[in-house]
Amino acid sequence: MESFKNQDGKRIVENLIKVIQENRDYLSKIDGEIGDGDHGINMNKGFSICQERIEGKDMNLTEAFKTLAMVLMTEIGGSMGPLYGTMFIEMAKQSKGKEEIDKEVFRQMLASAIKEIQEIGNAKVGDKTLMDTLIPALEAYEAAMDEGFATALEKMSAAAERGKDSTIDLVAKIGRASRLGERSRGVLDAGATSCWLMLKSMADSMVQMV
């Protein structure tokens, strides 16, 4: 059965950090269209602090996710602190004690993350948030699990991208942009975009490892 070692998973988080750093300005630009233009800055600051914390340390995936989550929750604030902090704390929790991360473990990680994000943020599909990336991603992943871990990851990544793109045509129902009504239509949602970048990065990293 396809899987990779929790012990080898730190690089997944390292790649995540890289992808956020590279997209700092892009994400802020998107956020600027209908939000307040700080999404890339917030994300980059948190992920860069995490980078310092994990650099040179011997850590498994669980510990790396936990470090990322703690930084986001205690040092970043904004909307992303609680939302992505919750996401990664759940990923840490669900992988904890698992030596091997297989497709079922990852399913639990993703599903639990989404459940808790929804708990705190109260957003649903169609609200023009990162939920529009997450929910179809999980559905695609679960539907493709029979085809193997790697395939499921790839389908998750593709569904995340479609989900992200779907936000263009949506009117924001939650968060800052929701006050715009119709004026929020026609542009990507920043959170949905960063979420897609992260799911894609995780999928790419894991596919290489399984």
């Binding site: 600027g32 700080d38 929750m73 904004g78 909307s79 602190g81 968060g175 004026r183």
Partner: protein, 334 residues
């Protein structure tokens, strides 16, 4: 971007260092670098007043720390909610056992972070109750108060809540009167020019020269309409037309009026706007008990003003008139 910063990603840190140095007679830093507190907090037996929010709104939020007002503040990045941890640490710094009134503004990030901080506080047996400011009339219709943002009217909520706590009010009493203050406050903003977050480097929204955005938010959230730039008198009329029917404010009411600049609009012009606002209120038989004009709640170097009107009753009047000593608001009582 003609601005004075060092590494723009650490503008808030640099600012806090200077802020604590200048105001050491009023406030101090704490173990959490993103939490400042009144130098005498926690005040024994007193309900702790806590607020917090993104940076870039000076004097809000930390500028309202001080005697008879706010006890501790959680400080966020520019235009971004403080962390849950910062709110939680602010609760701890302000708590003397009498409970915490967390009086903050209705933004998604702040809502989530306060919610998480309250869970942390629960585990340490700190009682926290909240009032969520939603005075910005232009941000949603009257029947969707849960969608309305908090803007400069928050100052009234802190002033009144802080005064009540200083007078020995219980947590429930403080919460009740702070809620009444914000329920009785209606605000609206008009934007004339955008602002730039230093780490972003360019404005994240535009206001075409020759136009103004009516109903703009404190972070440049778009308003209800874009109009040709009016005269000061017209701007005063547009703002009062939006605010007055919403309460509604009526003949015989006594009110407090706050015209706050958004950052780069000369104070001179704020008085010009105020002058017409008071004339309009007088025409309608509404009496101004007290007024404030100046940069009380800003958005970096945005141009424009917000207008906030608080309807008084006897209790609110006494609390508004109480002496206060903060960086952003000082008031003598003779």
């Amino acid at each position: 971007m003609q601005r004075m910063v060092n590494n723009p990603d650490y503008a808030v840190e640099d600012m806090l260092k200077g802020f604590v140095k200048v105001h050491s007679d009023i406030l101090v830093g704490t173990e959490n670098p993103r939490v400042l507190k009144y130098k005498d907090a926690p005040v024994k037996g007193k309900v702790g007043i806590v607020t917090g929010g993104g940076s870039g709104h000076k004097p809000a939020f930390a500028g309202y720390i001080g005697r008879n007002m706010v006890d501790a503040v959680a400080v966020g990045e520019i235009f971004s909610s403080p962390t849950a941890k910062a709110f939680f640490d602010a609760f701890k710094e302000a708590d003397s056992g009498a409970g915490i009134a967390c009086l903050y503004g209705n933004y998604a990030g702040d809502n989530m972070n306060v919610k998480m901080a309250m869970k942390m506080a629960e585990m340490e047996d700190i009682t926290v109750k909240t009032v969520v400011a939603n005075d910005d009339v232009a941000s949603a219709p009257k029947d969707q108060p849960e969608k309305r943002r908090g803007v400069a009217g928050e100052i009234f909520m802190w002033k009144v809540g802080g005064a009540k706590a200083a007078l020995g009010g219980t947590l429930d009493e403080v919460i009740a009167v702070a809620q009444k203050a914000i329920d009785n406050t209606k605000s609206v903003g008009v934007g004339l020019a955008p602002c730039t977050i230093p780490s972003v480097g360019s404005p994240n929204f535009q206001i075409e020269p020759g136009t103004m955005e009516v109903g703009i938010g404190h972070h440049g959230e778009p308003g209800v309409k874009v109009m040709p730039l009016g005269t000061a008198d017209e701007i005063a009329e547009i703002m009062t037309d939006i605010i007055l029917p919403d309460q509604p404010f009526m003949s015989g009411d006594e009110v407090v009026v706050l015209v706050s600049g958004l950052g780069a609009t000369p104070v001179m012009e704020q008085y010009i706007v105020y002058n017409r606002v008071e004339e309009i209120l007088a025409e309608k038989g509404i009496k101004v008990h007290r007024s404030y004009v100046g940069n009380y709640f800003t958005s970096l170097e945005m141009m424009g003003v917000t207008l906030s009107i608080l309807k008084l009753d006897e209790e609110l009047k006494e609390l508004v008139d109480m002496e206060v000593d903060t960086m952003g608001l000082k008031q003598f009582k003779y």
